[in-house]
């Protein structure tokens, strides 16, 4: 089992055959100035192109903050983040973000909500691309429905579709399935894996579910309780394609869950 425990030291970006999509170097984030609350302390990691990485940690450890830093939604005081070869400073092209809440606009129907990001970016979505996206998301027949007429799972699918329709290279997801029931969650997890495998995007997923992280990821990053420090990077060497029940029966799956629980301090 490849578990890399992280020592406090100057980070040198990984030398990999694959190109790095994201490179985070010695990032610290303070809320309320340098003498304020330390949200993240000296965090460094690299994410390879088309890698699926989950970030887990106890609630309040700064994992959502980490994702907002990657998305350029909040500034950082120390360190450096590079994404797709560019220094992150504000929002970036080629990056899609999916939030914890579905963030659909109640006055727009499914199609208009799906197109929102593209409309704002000034990109036209062809009717064929829209039909394909509706098909992929399993929303055929709901094109003209409004968010309040959809189930929670459908709303989240629309939110993910909104990010996907712009065809981003990097998909940042902040506990997108947190509010869903286990069955819907499994189904959307598989949908996400299918899309990721088909389109080879780089995915960074924030989750508080250890088993979800193991089920989906190539690698899991573990953050400690506040102040958030990176404690471990765990490679998940489970065979792909993965499938919820079969993968969970794998003896290795259980080992990973136990190992990650220990790293997170869960007993």
């Amino acid at each position: 089992m490849a578990v890399e425990l992280v020592q406090a030291e100057k980070h040198s970006p990984m030398k990999q055959s694959r190109e790095n999509a994201i490179s985070v170097n010695n990032i610290s984030k303070y809320f309320g100035g340098f003498d304020g609350v330390i949200a993240l302390e000296d965090v460094s990691f690299d994410i390879a192109d088309s890698e699926f990485v989950s970030i887990i940690g106890p609630s309040g450890c700064g994992k959502s903050t980490m994702l907002r830093l990657l998305a350029g939604l909040i500034p950082y005081e120390k360190g450096d983040i590079t994404m797709l070869g560019q220094h992150v400073d504000g929002g970036m092209d080629g990056v899609g973000m999916v939030f914890q809440t579905d963030n659909l606009l109640p006055w727009l129907d499914v199609c208009a909500n799906l197109k929102l990001g593209a409309d704002i970016a000034g990109v036209t979505v062809s009717a064929a691309a829209m039909a394909e996206m509706i098909e992929t998301l399993g929303l055929v027949g709901f094109e003209k429905n409004f968010p309040h007429e959809l189930s929670g799972g459908m709303r989240h699918r629309v939110a993910i579709g909104q990010a996907l329709i712009c065809n981003p290279q990097v998909l940042l997801m902040d506990e997108p399935f947190g509010a869903l029931d286990a069955l819907t969650r499994d189904r959307l997890n598989m949908e996400l894996l299918r899309i990721w495998q088909a389109e080879k995007k780089t995915v960074v997923l924030i989750t508080h579910s250890i088993s979800e992280a193991v089920l989906l990821s190539d690698r899991v990053l573990v953050l400690s309780d506040r102040p958030g420090k990176l404690v471990a990077k765990v490679e998940i060497n489970l065979p792909r394609p993965r499938e919820p029940s079969a993968t969970r029966e794998d003896r290795l799956f259980g080992d990973y869950v136990v190992k990650l629980s220990q790293l997170m301090g869960v007993n």
């Binding site: 973000m97 939030f99 963030n103 606009l105 704002i120 309040h148």
Partner: protein, 250 residues
């Protein structure tokens, strides 16, 4: 659904009929003089006989109300946007507006008539004064109520200020703005009538004063019925417009 709706209507009608019966019976039993309280029949006759006068004056009052209301919407929205987007305006205009709002506007009517005369403009200004504040408060409330997570979502989508304004802020604030209009419209009617009470040559408020002064109480009630109808129709138009913005962002 239709059945419940019908039931609502029939119950309301029955209640009104009962009230009318009580009205008529009371007049007969207690021998109330018609210059104190006319019978419904007398009011209907007055309404019929004075139809032309009532219509003429209704049109005048309607004009005052609409001009006052529309200027309140235009200025109210403009001031709300200034206060929302410009911090200096929020620090200066907003407290000033709250102070102005605290003045009883009925108390302003005499001086408004002195300044702007007996004609149309003083009534339009009164209607405006009554309608203005609810529109500002509701519009500001709507803008302030935009959920933070949606604002962040628009930042993540790298939306321009312009795009965020039209695609997020305007639709988010619209339901609250319409609520403000619903409050403001009947107030604009009151403002115009108050203006007419204080100094005017025509309008339904003027007609109410004249009729009451000359003991034509049935005509007073007919004019009151006309004002009420006017107010209800205008309110209902706003209500219909409100159905176009059925959503509530939460």
């Amino acid at each position: 659904m239709t059945k419940i709706f019908n039931r609502n209507i029939t119950d309301a009608l029955l209640f009104f009929v009962a009230l009318a019966v009580i009205w008529e019976v009371s007049i007969a039993v207690f021998d109330i003089k018609s210059y104190i309280l006319p019978s419904l029949g007398d009011i209907a006759v007055a309404f019929w006989q004075s139809w032309d006068v009532l219509m003429q004056n209704s049109v005048i009052t309607l004009g005052e109300v609409l001009l006052g209301f529309v200027s309140a919407v235009i200025l109210g929205v403009a001031i709300s946007l200034l206060i929302y987007f410009i911090p200096v305006a929020k620090r200066t205009l907003y407290p000033f507006m709250i102070a102005l709002q605290s003045i009883p506007k009925i108390g302003l009517a005499p001086i408004i008539v002195v300044w702007f005369g007996y004609g149309l403009s003083s009534k339009v200004i009164m209607a405006f004064l009554f309608a203005f504040f609810p529109i500002v408060i509701a519009t500001l409330g709507g803008l302030a109520g935009i959920p933070a997570h949606l604002e962040e979502h628009f930042r993540a989508l790298r939306s321009s200020t312009w795009n965020t304004f039209w695609r997020l802020r305007v639709p988010s604030a619209l339901p609250s703005f319409i609520d403000g209009c619903k409050v403001a419209m009947p107030l604009a009617v009151i403002g115009a009538i108050v203006g007419e009470f204080v100094g005017s040559n025509d309008g339904l408020g003027n007609l109410i004063l004249m009729a009451t002064g000359s003991s034509q109480t049935a005509l007073t009630f007919a004019a009151l019925a006309a004002v009420t109808t006017l107010s209800l129709v205008l309110f209902y138009i706003i209500e219909l417009m409100g159905r176009l913005v059925w959503w509530r962002s939460n």
